[in-house]
Each structure stands twice: as C-alpha cells, then as structure tokens.
Symmetry: C2
Subunit: 206 residues, 2 copies
DNA sequence: ATTTTAATCACGTAAAGGGGTGATTTTTGG
DNA sequence: CCAAAAATCACCCCTTTACGTGATTAAAAT
C-alpha cells in the first residue's frame, strides 16, 4: 500500500490523478494541496510515501519545494510533474533529489510505473522527459544555475529598467549591476540584452 | 442535457474533467481527443454542444482548430482552456468565435458556469482571464500594425544582431535601421531593447 | 491628383551597454 | 572549519543604443 500526496495548482490535474489512482487498490491518496505552503503544512503533521509535485506553484517554485521536502523528509520520494516546455528544470530537480520526472501528458500506466519505481528507490523518467534531459544536459557544458541575485536583476532588466535604475532600486553600485549582467551573459551564452530576454522568456526564467 | 467534447493533449486534464462532469446529471461527456486531428475526425460523424479546447495541441494550435470548428460548425460553442501565461492568445480566440476562456486552475463551479453560459450563447470569462483580456484590449487603442520591414528588423534584433550588423545584412544605412527601431519603440510603447523583445515574444510577433 | 504611409538617409548628443580584469566581503556547503 | 560560490565594488575603453529632428523618394490609398 503506497500513500500518495499531490501538489498542483490546477484542480483539474488533481481531480484527474485522484480519479484514476482511486481505482488502484494498492495505492491510497493521502491528500492534496494547491500550493506549496499548504503542502508544507500537511507534512508537519502527516506523511506520505510519494509526492507528485507540479513544478509551477503559485507561491514557490517546485524546485525549492522539492529541496525543502527532501531536506526535512529524505525518505519521501518526490516525482516532478511538468508541462512539456520546461526542460531546463529537470536537471535542477534531480540535483535536489527528485525521484522522477513525468510530463503531464503521461498516460496512466506511466504514472503508476513512476510511483512503483520511486518506491523501490530508483529514479524514473518518462520517455519524453528522458529525451529532454539528454538534450539539455548535452547542450550545457557550463550548467546555467542562476543565483538569487542574478534572477532578481534579470527580472528587472526584463521590466525595462536600465543598470542605473536597477542600482538605485537595489541600493548597490552600477558596477555591481553591470557585473551581474555580464555574468548572466556568460552563464547563458548570450551577448546582448535582446538575446538575454529571449533566453529568459523561452526558458521561463521570469 | 448538454453534451461536452474535450480536446487536450494532457490525459490527466481529460481524466479530471471527465471525472467530475460525470457527476453532473445534466451533462453528458460526448467524448474526447488528445489531438486536433482526432477532434476533427470525431466531428465528421458526430457532434456535441460544447467543446472544451486546450490551446496547446501537438499538431495544431488551438486558435486554428477553433477557427476551423467555428467555420464548419458555427453552432458548437468552443470554450478555450489555457494555462496562466498565455494571455495574448485570448483576444485571438475571441476573434475566431470562442465562447469562453477558462484557465486550467479554474475550479469546478467555474467550468460548469462556463458551459451553462456558453449554452445560452453568451461568452464566459474566468476572473483571471477577464483581467488579462481587459489589460490587453486596453493597451491596444492604437493597434500596433507593423510594416513588413519593421517585422523583419524586429526579428533580426531578436536574433541578437546590432543595428550595424542589420544594416549590412539588408544593405541599408545604419540610420535607417535606427529609424525603424525608433518606430518600433513608438508603435509598441516601449523604451528599450529589453521591453521590445518581451513585447514581441509575448504577443507572438516573432 | 493628393494625402498618407513606408522606407530610406543624415546629424548630433547623451546615456547605456558590452568586455576585460581584479579585488573584497559575505554566505553557503561539505 | 575551510573551501567554494555569491555578492559586492572599481576602473578602463570602446561600441551601441536612445532620442530628437528633419528630409527625400516611392508606393499605396483615398
């Protein structure tokens, strides 16, 4: 008997997962949450064997939630759920101990297999996710992990602020903003603002 | 008795919608499809009152599918389903006759209301979608129609080329490129490259 | 036939971005 | 605790963008 907890901000997805997991006699739906905070609250007083976790949550990124869960409850297997256009997150989830990665267009057998595999302590990747994983890990010889500050500055650049304006907003020197900007260019392999914004939007870093 | 057909490439979403629509006695699930082509095939020999249609389909955009359905079967109400970050598609769907727009994190009552409203021939918008719709339609009082040349230059800017590089590629003066760039800024109400690229991507001008 | 729009080029100034390099201080992680 | 990563600031030089203003020509629309 495996107990499964679901975190997803889309009620329809939850409804769908619950609906068919209920048909499986060896699986029990422990509960669900539509936000990271609700999920955290749940695990303060309860537990589960496996968490099916959406990467896009309203209050926290799935990556951070995964990190938090795995550090507090290392025994719980986390399986990431994602839509197709978020390939770049896969590697990060794995780094933080996710036990699997499913795309939301996965069929029922795939989900059951992922849960079963996770229970055995092995990672599971959907066929599609595997392709993406391979593609992105091949591409990135210098892995693009942005620091908190870099993300912050990236967002402000994307909002149209100049380096000076950003420096004033964050109470730091223009040179510092410029340094972060340059580091962003280096990390993301771009050479100017246009490509930076494109990269950021296309990889949903905003 | 309203018959509802569902088109979505995510099996989980379909499962979720079916699961709870079955509980409603005045609604009948006519069927579902995970691709645009399967949907088109279905309506060659069958029909339905309402289609719940995802905007992201593997073989065709929801916008095109909506257009096609409405031109062949104007009596069928199409309700668009979307994730949160696709605001710019809303207006296009409406132009092609969609009867409503729901975000996928809509709750059950909202979906039922959308179906009921669509049956009465009126459009329904989820609260969130309404906000987005309002925001985008307000912005375009002077609708931004870009000339062929402007689009061409916009694309090159988005590919990271500088004005000089663009001028060489198109065999025109740097000043001309600069003029076009200025016109783009004016037309799209932005003030620098970052916002230009963002606007272009978010409104699918690339 | 005349106005509008698109596309072209020009000049000038000020502000911002792009590239390199180096150094200090926190913060974080093992 | 120690090493690594993140965040901070600095200086130089040069390129590019941003903004204004104005002008010519050709094509399209009225």
């Amino acid at each position: 008997m495996t107990s499964v907890f679901i975190v997803d901000d889309h009620q329809l997805i939850i409804e769908g997962i619950v609906s068919f997991l209920q048909k499986e006699k060896h699986i029990k739906v422990a509960g669900y949450a539509t936000s990271a905070s609700a999920c955290i609250d749940y695990f303060k007083t309860n537990t589960a064997d496996v968490i099916l976790m959406d990467i896009n949550l309203p209050d926290m990124s799935g990556i951070d939630l995964c990190k938090l869960i795995k550090s507090n409850y290392p025994g719980i297997a986390v399986i990431a759920l994602s839509t197709i256009n978020q390939g770049s997150y896969i590697t990060q989830m794995i780094e933080y101990g996710a036990s699997g990665y499913l795309l939301k267009n996965a069929d029922k057998e795939e989900i059951l297999e992922a849960i079963a595999t996770a229970q055995n302590g092995k990672p599971y990747f959907s066929f599609e996710a595997g392709k993406i994983f391979k593609a992105t890990s091949e591409k990135r010889t210098g892995l693009p992990v942005l620091s908190k500050r870099e993300k912050e500055i990236l967002k402000l650049i994307a909002e149209g602020f100049t380096n000076i304006e950003i420096s004033r907003q964050l109470f730091i020197s223009i040179d510092t903003v410029d340094s972060h900007r340059k580091n962003l260019y280096t990390k993301l392999h771009v050479k100017n603002t246009a490509l930076l914004i494109r990269y950021a939007i296309e990889h949903t870093l905003l």
